[in-house]
Subunit: 281 residues, 4 copies
């Protein structure tokens, strides 16, 4: 599937600052970045950092003089996903996890799975099929947490959301991840561009590691699962912030878009009658 993605952010820089932006589309086995352009105006030297703490393509640059800067990223991306059938599957034992997977079982800043152990097991512990289990988690979040712009902030965590029952995509993802980890299902945060997201913005959802595959889930059900362009994955929003800013800088405006660059698109969401998960590799 081909998408044109775009973002433009205008910052008011008030002191010498370093910005690390995380808006570039990932290069993966199934996601090709056909063309891309990352620009800062006025022109500044930027550096793409090798990924640490998950998958990402962070770009770092210094702004030494106060003023207004405009950062833009524009790309055409061609990606595909894999469909995985979990009919009749059981959970993979921890003993078989690749070592790189294990940290996605640990509690993290916004996903305090250690505090949700009893709740998660009480609610979802009896579901045998791991795919069905995560579907049940996303359905529960969808039905019991209200999507409410502005109801939460950058400090809100899964422990809050499970009780306060309101939030945005970030909070939905954190809660999904925390519940999975509490059930010994590795889970990680996924940020991306999302086709048909209204209003347009960056999107967050999560991947759960089921029988050897990172399967995509989105408790917001706001967009088709096959309209994503992956920017980053990590343990939670701490690893995958769109921008890490060091200095006195204010975001003035932000624009995000994700458009289809080809004709056919058949929106895909999980139903309740099959066991097919989708994975972006």
């Amino acid at each position: 599937m081909k998408f044109n993605v775009f973002t433009e952010m205008e910052y008011i820089v008030k002191s010498a600052s370093t910005l690390i932006l995380n808006v570039n589309a990932l290069h993966t086995a199934h996601q090709k970045v056909l063309t891309e352009e990352f620009t800062v105006s006025p022109n500044i030297i930027t550096e793409e950092l090798p990924a640490t703490a998950g998958e990402n393509r962070m770009v770092r640059f210094e702004v030494t003089n106060p003023g207004i800067i405009k950062v833009a990223y524009k790309a055409t991306v061609d990606n595909s996903f894999k469909t995985v059938d979990f009919q009749g599957q059981y959970e993979m034992p921890v003993a078989q996890f690749d070592h790189t997977i294990i940290p996605y079982l640990y509690p993290s800043r916004y996903c305090q799975s250690d505090k949700l152990y009893r709740l998660a097991n009480d609610m979802f512990g009896n579901i045998v099929n791991p795919f069905t289990k995560v579907i049940a988690i996303t359905d529960w979040i969808y039905w019991h947490v209200e999507y409410l712009s502005g109801s939460t902030n950058s400090e809100t965590s899964a422990f809050d959301t499970v009780t306060e029952r309101q939030g945005v995509c970030r909070d939905f993802a954190h809660l999904g991840i925390a519940l999975c980890r509490a059930l010994t299902i590795p889970a990680r945060y996924f940020t991306g561009y999302a086709y048909q997201l209204v209003p347009p913005d960056f999107h967050a959802c999560f991947e759960a590691y089921i029988n050897g595959e990172w399967i995509l889930f989105d408790a917001t059900k706001l967009v088709p699962l096959n309209g994503m362009v992956k920017i980053a994955t990590g343990r939670d929003a701490a690893d995958t912030a769109i921008a890490n800013i060091f200095g006195d800088v204010e975001l003035r405006t932000i624009v995000v878009s994700c458009e289809l660059a080809e004709e056919a698109f058949e929106p895909l969401k999980y139903g309740h009658v099959d066991y097919k998960g989708i994975a972006y590799l």
Copy 2:
């Protein structure tokens, strides 16, 4: 410096379980593991995992039959540390951090630096020399948080400790890390064997990244800084747990020891008149 370290843990295993233990001494440029033995009785096949999420040498094994198991680790380690002079130094800008360092600026499960930004800057923001700054943080913790066994639990985090003012080495380390990160000083959790720790136990302290070196700090001031044998580093206790257990398992007894394997030992703690930090590489 040569040390003999030892730990023995007895577990009551009630169901088929997977254990991941994190008690092996690290191999580093300056820490040689001269001899070591990791045993499980009854005998079980174990697997050492390549490190992820920090430095560590986790050992994973499955116990399929209920019963009592005994895990023991014994090693002779020879390590040394580097002394670094920070007299007259300034903070290294974020723009110069190696990319592997940056995740140690992010908030984590037990180190919610995002919530401590104002406090940390109010308390320590004006100290120019970064080494002095972290010394001031550890001194503050030492004087204002009471070391009180049993006062906290595995869910306690820096956000709690900064107000509740009680805890153990783990809590002291988490608070130190969180305050550093809130001041844009990368910091990570350090677990190890500690010579002269009374009563003997695993110890936790932290490393702050100052001008290109990971410098060791210990807000508990319980042990000499030069009596450590490093087991692991990570973002916080979530990355470096002594044991991650998946299954119905109960810890029955634990023994830990760290003895000097040579004669001379001159205990080293930071004073207030010099600027020399120590780094275990």
Copy 3:
């Protein structure tokens, strides 16, 4: 119903201190204290305080000399309760509440109903009959929160318990109260002696104000509802602490008992087929 209640507490007093104990059986329209004796040894002048912040009979005294003191309370109490039929009842509107009831709608230290509004309404908002609604709350707590001695402490609140899913009678009561208030049902904390409580201890449960009556509920289901001797009611455990101690004092031992002082006793718990609540006036 006649009960003999008894408690004895031994304190190590290390500095001049003031103690305010809250263990006396209440005098109410339906609870007669036939005989009682409150003693402190060595002998000290005590003062019973008029009730504030709920119903109670707090006793205050000063201990000027360090040493061991023993406080004992012994009483024979005759009480009765009223059975109220809520078949076909609707909720009383706030506009009709007596003004003394309104503070039991406010959030309090351990019952943060303001943070549980969405959760409570999502889970129980559709139940029309107010008695059935509170029965549903207590049943939910009973089935989904594990009674686990030592799992919580004096700082644990309803906001924690609703997620962490473990606690003792105090936590069960706080959660019940918080959920009621979030549903605009006034609710208050009830402490008392409880017949057949194993192991013997003070007990905590709660009262919900339904159609003009304070109806008793106990989410622990540990004891018959008709075996209670009321000590105090208040907004939560902050108002009704068994002991408020000002000074350096350590509790050494505590004994509590509640025995039937007559022959017949038919234990009463709420069933699911009727609408009869019980109220201790």
Copy 4:
């Protein structure tokens, strides 16, 4: 001192609702309400409730039909305050507190003094004179918590503010109260109209009970202490909310004002060289 106070609130009522407003000036020994008018348009029968849970003059009314309502309160108030000299004073022992004072030592929803015991004692425990101690608390809050509109919400409590270091008058008052109670100084929340408050709004500060007097403190230092018209006191904002609303109601606009109704006004704030507290009786 004579003041004209005024407030007008416009509500959009979307369903049958009950409102309890708490904006009337108190009648006290030293505060005379010379004239007042509480109106609801369209005209609705209102009921002034006798005070419970602190001092207040809450007004309750039902709105049965959806629509816009306007509530206005206008009064001319003449009040005075007492100056109390605490030079050379010691703390009154708990044993001498009137029983009505004791609940103001308990932790409450937004003032978790139980969690601040060590912090408060570490920071202020050594100050002997109780008036100086509370002055030190208010000074600390003033210097270390930033007054920042919109930085907190109705769920923010003292436990948050002591670490997050930002808030509005409500948060400043909650933290002051919590610290006092942690030091065994009874403290309560005070809401009122405040002369010279910019921008005009309701104001919150607190009273600490020192040697038998409720002395006024304001950690915001935004207004003169002698320009207050008392509306209510209570354990915290839960007891003294300007409006408790039961039903689907939205606040559309609010206007508050407090004007001097006589000529001379000499603003009074506490200095650091005397020991004179002011009390509104």
